[in-house]
Symmetry: C2
Subunit: 308 residues, 2 copies
C-alpha cells in the first residue's frame, strides 16, 4: 500500500478497543475475545457488474461494498466485528477513488460499530475491484443457516422487493439490527438475504433445507421502485416480475414455524414490515399461486453468476 495513502488511512480510521493494531504493519491485530464461533464472509465487487465508476460516486460504491458484506452477516444473524478491505484501483485517479470509497464505508462502519482493520491497496491497468472480508460473531441464539427450513414453515420476509437498480442497491441499510432482534426474539429456522433475487434466493434456501417453496403472488410486498421501473421500461414486465427477479433488495427471507410466524407478523417488532408470502413444502422445487388460486411450478429468476 502506498505510504502516503497509509498515512491518510491511519489518520482517518477511528481508534477502537477491538483494534489492537491497525493499518501499516503486515497484518492487523484484533481483540476478538472468546469467539467460539466466528462468522466470516467475503464479497468482491467489480466495476461494470456491481457498480459503474463515473456513474456512481466513490462514496456510494464504498457504502454498497461494505453494506453487501454486512448483509451477509445479517443473513447469518451475526453481529459484525471487523472488516478488511482490498482494492484494485485504476492507475489514474486511484488515490482519490480510494479515499472516496473509505469515506463511504466509514459512516456505515460507525453505525454498526464495525472496525475497519486495514487492507491492501493496489494499482493496475484494470477497472476498480473492491473485495471486503467481514468477521462477525454468532450470538447465544446461534447462527441462522440456510439449511433449517422445514415443510410447513412459513416464508416471512422483511421490507419490499423490486426496482433496486433505481437507487436502493447503493443506499440500502443492511438488516443487521433487524436480524439480531428477530433471531433473539423468535425461533427462526433458516434465513438468507436477497442479493440475487427473491425467487432465486428463496429457492436456494429451500434447496439447502432439502424442501420446496410455494409463494402466493398476491402476498408479495412490491416496492414503489418496482412499480416505477415497470412503468419506465415499457417492456411488458410487471411490478411483480421485478419484485421476484430483480435482486439487490438485501431484505431477509426467513423460515418460521406457523405459530411463531403468526406472532411475528402480529407484533411487527422491527421498523421494516414483516410479511408472510408463502410456505415451505416437502417436494423440492418452487411454485407460485396466482390470484385465481392456481398453483404452478416456476423457474427461479434472478442474477446467476455464470462460470464458463
Amino acid at each position: 500500500m502506498e505510504s502516503e495513502f497509509v498515512a491518510w488511512l491511519r489518520a482517518r480510521l477511528p481508534a477502537h478497543e477491538r483494534l489492537r493494531l491497525g493499518p501499516g504493519d503486515d497484518a492487523a491485530v484484533l481483540r476478538l475475545g472468546d469467539r467460539a464461533s466466528c462468522v466470516v464472509t467475503v464479497d468482491l465487487l467489480t466495476d461494470g457488474v456491481d457498480f459503474h465508476v463515473g456513474q456512481a460516486s466513490p462514496r456510494r460504491i464504498g457504502h454498497k461494498s461494505l453494506a453487501v458484506n454486512l448483509s451477509d452477516l445479517a443473513a447469518m444473524a451475526a453481529r459484525p466485528l471487523a472488516v478488511v478491505v482490498a482494492l484494485a484501483l485504476p492507475r489514474h485517479g486511484g488515490r482519490e477513488l480510494a479515499e472516496g470509497l473509505y469515506e463511504g464505508m466509514l459512516p456505515l462502519a460507525e453505525q454498526f460499530d464495525v472496525v475497519i482493520a486495514g487492507g491492501d491497496t493496489n494499482s493496475w491497468d484494470g477497472p476498480l475491484v473492491v473485495s471486503i472480508t467481514a468477521i462477525g460473531e454468532v450470538t447465544s441464539h446461534g447462527p441462522l443457516l440456510r439449511s433449517g427450513a422445514k415443510p410447513g414453515d412459513q416464508i416471512v420476509v422483511t421490507g419490499a422487493f423490486g426496482g433496486s437498480i433505481l437507487g436502493h442497491h447503493f443506499d440500502f441499510t443492511p438488516r443487521v439490527d433487524e436480524a439480531l432482534k428477530l433471531n433473539e426474539r423468535y425461533d427462526l429456522h433458516a434465513g438468507i438475504d436477497v442479493s440475487d433475487g427473491l425467487s432465486i434466493d428463496l429457492s436456494r434456501l429451500a434447496k439447502e433445507s432439502g424442501c420446496g417453496a410455494v409463494i402466493t403472488e398476491s402476498l408479495i410486498p412490491i416496492a414503489p421502485a418496482a412499480e416505477q421501473l415497470a412503468a419506465q421500461l415499457n417492456d411488458r414486465s410487471t411490478p411483480l416480475d421485478h419484485a421476484l427477479g430483480d435482486g439487490e433488495d438485501f431484505e431477509l427471507i426467513l423460515a418460521v414455524a406457523p405459530p411463531e410466524a403468526e406472532r411475528m407478523i402480529a407484533e411487527q417488532p422491527i421498523d421494516a414490515p414483516l410479511t408472510r408470502i408463502g410456505h415451505f413444502v416437502e417436494t423440492p422445487g418452487l411454485w407460485q399461486i396466482d390470484p385465481a388460486g392456481n398453483q404452478r411450478p416456476v423457474t427461479p429468476r434472478g442474477w446467476e453468476h455464470e462460470l464458463n
Copy 2:
C-alpha cells in the same frame, strides 16, 4: 457463486474441526475458540501485476496467492487458522481457472493446517483478480510487529535474496514455521517479510520503529537466481542490485539485540540460513557500507505501489 462450482468446492474442500460451516451459505462459521488476539491480513493479486494468466498455470497462481498471505502472517509470527478466497474470473474459461487456483491452494493449506472457509466467485469482463483474507492467531510470545526495532539491534535475515522473478515468487514456501520457531526461541524485537524488496522493506521496518538501518553489502546473502538474472539481463545490474531491490523473496527481516542475534546465528535453528546483514541506528534513513568500508546513504529500492 455458481451452484455447480459451489458443489465442486464443497466436495473438494477437506473437513476440518475448525470449520463448522463451509461454502454454500451466506458466510462461513469458524470455531476459533478463545482468541484474545486474532491477526487478519488481506492480499489482492491481479493479472498483469502479480502473475500473467497464460504464462503461469492456475495452480501456481493459486499457490502464490495463498502463500503471500501466509507470508504476512509469518511476518507477524502468527499461526494461520483460516482463509476466505474471493475471485473475479474472466468470463471465458473461468470455471476451469477457478478449479486450478483451488488445486494450487489446497496442498499449501494442508501443509499449514489452514482451513479454506469458502469465498466469493464472480465473473466479469476484466482479467483475473484473486483476493485472499487470512486469519491467524498470535502465540503466547505475542505478535511480531514492524515497530519494535531499537538502535543497536542487529538486522538478521532468513534465506537469500534476488532473482525471484525466475521462479521463486511462484513456488516459495512462506516462512510460517520458521517465524513461529524463532519467535518462540528468541527475543525478536521486530519483523517484516520481504515482498517489495530487501532494501525497501527494511527501510519500512526501520521507519515504523523510528530508527534507521545500516546494511553491510558484503554480508547480504545473494540467491543463485540473482546471479543468473544479472547475467541474463546484461544491463549492468549486479547480483547485489537484484538482492537489494527485486522483491518477492518472502524471506524475513528481523530486529534482534546483539547477544540474542549472536546466539541465533550460532545455533542456526531453522533449515534456512540466518544471516546478520547490518544493524539499526538512531538516525532515520538507510545506509550501505561498501566493500571498501565507506558508508553512504542510499535510496530504498523495490516495488512501490503507486497511487495517483
